[in-house]
């Protein structure tokens, strides 16, 4: 159970930003990466999503993710979120962590210079975990060609009280790709893809890597539906690989 809580805490740490626009990419909506832009000044955004993690040698885990963000200043937002999960293996639901986030997009794309941003997340366990999980993420977004965008996210994770045989600090990175779909005839959906690697939480463990494909679709002036699929390409031998991870979510701003 503690392992599940820790995993949930780490999964939640690293959250989102941006307004409910299908072109503005938020972490976990539906893939892990995000772009370097905050949500609009004075706006709120409420995001909800369901994720199903399947395992070859285990029963699935269901995650519900909910987060509310506020653009408290130009190019800056804060957020609070939680991500309870239910393991069909143990038949138990846990609250995991409450996450507090700060995001700043300090440079937009100008000429050939990329957009740059960063976020800091603090995850505080609410159902049995110990210590505080911290994540610092650097984000770069750059247009290549005309409409294609590359997003690079680099993460540093730190646990104030790591469990025995797990790392106190680990690193990860995701390279994301996005492109509006349907131009020049429709303007309401964006295709996303990602490839990510992160260090295993196990002390001395190998890298974990995954790929994902997703879509964000504008449903209304303020609402965006997202859905994604991910699969683990390689994983440390002490961790279970997920052959299929499905995500569906909905975001609305107000």
């Amino acid at each position: 159970m503690r392992r599940l809580i820790t995993l949930g805490c780490c999964a939640l740490i690293a959250s989102v930003s941006l307004a409910s626009d299908h072109n503005n990419l938020d972490k976990e909506r539906p893939l892990r990466f995000e772009d370097a832009y905050s949500i609009a000044y004075r706006s709120f955004e409420f995001q909800n999503g369901l994720r199903l993690d399947t395992f070859r040698r285990g029963k699935p885990v269901y995650n519900f993710r909910s987060e509310i963000q506020y653009g408290f200043s130009k190019n800056k937002d804060i957020a609070i979120g939680f991500e309870p999960s239910y393991s069909s293996e143990s038949r138990k639901a846990v609250g995991n962590a409450v996450e507090f986030s700060y995001f700043e997009g300090f440079a937009r794309e100008i000429g050939d210079k990329p957009a740059l941003g960063y976020r800091v997340d603090v995850g505080i366990p609410v159902s049995g975990g110990k210590g505080v999980a911290l994540r610092a993420r650097g984000i770069l977004t750059k247009t290549v060609g005309q409409f294609d965008k590359i997003h690079v996210n680099v993460d540093v994770l730190h646990s104030t009280e790591a469990e025995p045989n797990t790392r106190q600090m680990s690193l990860g990175a995701v390279i994301g790709y996005s492109r509006p779909l349907g131009y020049p005839r429709r303007f309401d959906q964006t295709l996303l893809a990602e490839f990510g690697v992160e260090q295993s939480r196990q002390r001395g463990g190998n890298l974990n890597g995954w790929v994902g494909l997703g879509m964000r679709r504008q449903l209304s002036s303020t609402g965006v539906l997202d859905f994604g699929i991910q699969t683990d390409l390689f994983r440390d031998k002490l961790e279970q690989a997920s052959p299929v991870r499905l995500t569906v979510g909905y975001s609305v701003n107000f």
Binding site: A19, D21, H22, N23, Y37, S38, I39, A40, Y41, R42, S43, G71, K74, N75, G105, F106, A107, R108, E109, I110, G111, D112, K113, P114, A115, L140, K142, T143, V144, Q146, F147, K149, I150, V152, V154, L171, A173, I175, P180, Y183, P184, R185, R186, F187, D188, V197, Q199, N206, L207, Q218, S220, S221, T222, N253, F254
Partner: protein, 518 residues
């Protein structure tokens, strides 16, 4: 760990060029005429942040969707702007009038049902001119929110007017706000690059001015008009927009808010001015981007200067109605139109209106008698793309009858809270939004026409008026059907102002391809 760093470094090695732009160098012969950089530009123009701002919260937001066809057409204007700008900065200018025009036109004829992110459609343009996008975005937000307020069914007309003023203050609170002072349009269109775009790309320029027609004509459709009457009016205006206004290449000048929505412009002159100044900024930007005599850096500088010219902050302390002619601070306006800056050739209230000729805006467009300054304002007639103010119902009807196609009359009644909206079909058959409407009409001398040609919301209201005016006691009310059949033609008092078109040298038929100081 090594494995991790290898992958991370590979990610970071993206195509990148951090080269600095070359310095500014004006070409010989341009220095004295091309606008020069002010001593200090607002600092936000060099901000690296995206600085996106959310709209003002209110129950009315997105009420534009209650008029679906209008909302879609408005959303499509964003696509049209963005596609053209993107083409101009990505080396596709030579395809603007062909391939790009066709692409835009397809979208205009198949408009999106939701708002679009213009920045996503024109990423290269926004990377280059992000500061300009901030000005455009913020003004477009004002456009949409004012429309939303008027389209919202949950507020009275008085509440809407209060909220519109709040929106204006909200808009002004950001440094990207465009001034609400009238500006001299001839001056703003008098630079060496002016009119390049409309000359070289008349079809796409026609689209731009078509968008501006739509973005300004809608306000009189909405202002103090019952929400239920918005959709029927837009059936007329939308058809006019999609079949005609978008494809006009013979306009002399961009549509002005006070021309298209005179009632709205009279009530909210500062907003009308801001929209006109915004649209003029669009024209300036189009011209700068299309002007072959400027380097890329010079274009960036000229666009910053063009923005500076129209910003609220640039005109702090200035007053409407004052200013030195043909200067940056020329804030004079025609006396009867505080919501419009001076136009080319205009003198007091006499101005040239594209498609209509010379008009005295203080007079009824049909009988040339002065419009009353107080009380019920008579009516407006919208037909064939123009909107005119008239003194009385007779002038409204007979003026509409002179124009082919459908028409809309918006008229005052005895109840200042009930606006009469009448729409005619191609044959001149009128429908009314007030079921029991009756008319008073006793043909007499035009100078008094606003007293003997009026509309009433009911027979009771008519009788009350007649009782108060004993000289009319023998007069019977006219039903809509009976009133529609009357027609007194062009009044004897009508005075045509016969002067040459100031936009066309020699009075030729071709649209202006040069002007101002060129």
């Amino acid at each position: 760990m090594r494995q991790f760093f290898a992958v991370t470094v590979a990610f970071a090695l993206l195509p990148n060029a951090w080269a600095q732009m070359p310095g500014v160098e004006m070409k010989e012969g341009m220095k004295s005429r091309m606008p020069t950089m002010p001593s200090e530009l607002p600092r936000w123009m060099n901000s690296r942040g995206l600085d996106e701002i959310f709209y003002k919260r209110g129950p009315y937001n997105w009420a534009i969707d209650r008029i679906p066809a209008f909302a879609k057409d408005m959303y499509a204007t964003g696509v049209g702007h963005a596609m053209a700008y993107e083409a101009l900065v990505t080396g596709q200018a030579n395809q603007l009038e062909s391939k790009v025009f066709s692409k835009i036109d397809w979208v205009l004829q198949h408009p999106p049902s939701m708002p679009v992110d213009e920045a996503a459609i024109s990423p290269r343009f926004v990377q280059k001119y992000g500061y300009l996008e901030k000005v455009f975005d913020w003004a477009h937000t004002l456009h949409f929110q004012t429309i939303d307020v008027f389209s919202h069914p949950g507020m009275t007309d008085a509440e809407k007017e209060v909220e519109i003023d709040r929106l204006w203050k909200f808009y002004q609170s950001e440094p990207y706000a465009i001034t609400g002072l009238p500006m001299n349009m001839e001056y703003l269109d008098s630079f060496p690059y002016s009119m390049t775009f409309r000359t070289n790309y008349p079809k796409v320029n026609g689209l731009f001015w078509g968008y501006h027609w739509l973005q300004t004509v809608n306000y009189d459709m909405l202002y103090r008009v019952p929400v239920k009457d918005h959709v029927p009016q837009y059936e007329v205006l939308g058809e006019q927009y999609r079949t005609s206004e978008l494809y006009k290449t013979d306009r002399d000048f961009m549509p002005m808010t006070a021309e298209m929505s005179p009632r709205f412009a009279k009530r909210f002159p500062y907003i009308a001015n801001a929209f006109d100044n915004l649209h003029m900024l669009h024209d300036n930007v189009n011209d700068i981007l299309a002007y072959p005599g400027l380097t890329e850096i010079q274009k960036e500088h000229q666009i910053k200067i063009a923005i500076y010219r129209v910003l609220e902050t640039t005109h702090a302390g200035q007053k409407a109605g004052e200013g030195e002619p043909m200067t940056l601070h020329d804030h004079r306006h025609p006396p009867s139109i505080p919501g419009m800056g001076m136009m080319k050739g205009s003198e007091d209230d006499v101005m040239f209106m594209s498609g209509m000729g010379w008009m005295d805006m203080s007079e009824c467009a049909h009988c040339s008698i002065a419009l009353p300054e107080e009380g019920p304002w008579g009516a407006t007639v919208s037909a064939n793309g123009w909107t005119m103010m008239v003194r009385c119902m007779m002038c409204a009807r007979d003026m509409a009858a002179e124009t082919p196609g459908r028409a809309i009359i918006r008229a005052a009644t005895e109840d200042e809270n009930r606006l009469l909206v009448m729409i005619s079909d191609e044959e001149g058959n009128w429908t009314s939004n007030i079921k029991d409407v009756v008319f008073l009409e006793v043909f007499g001398q035009h100078p008094e026409c606003s007293s003997w040609s009026r509309a009433f919301t009911s027979q009771a209201a008519f009788e009350k008026f007649v009782q108060a005016n004993p000289e009319l006691k023998e007069i019977k009310p006219l039903s809509l059907e009976a009133w529609s059949k009357l027609n007194y033609g062009t009044p004897e008092t009508y005075r045509k102002i016969d002067r040459p078109n100031p936009y066309r040298s020699g009075g030729g038929a071709t649209p202006p391809s040069d002007g101002g100081s060129k």
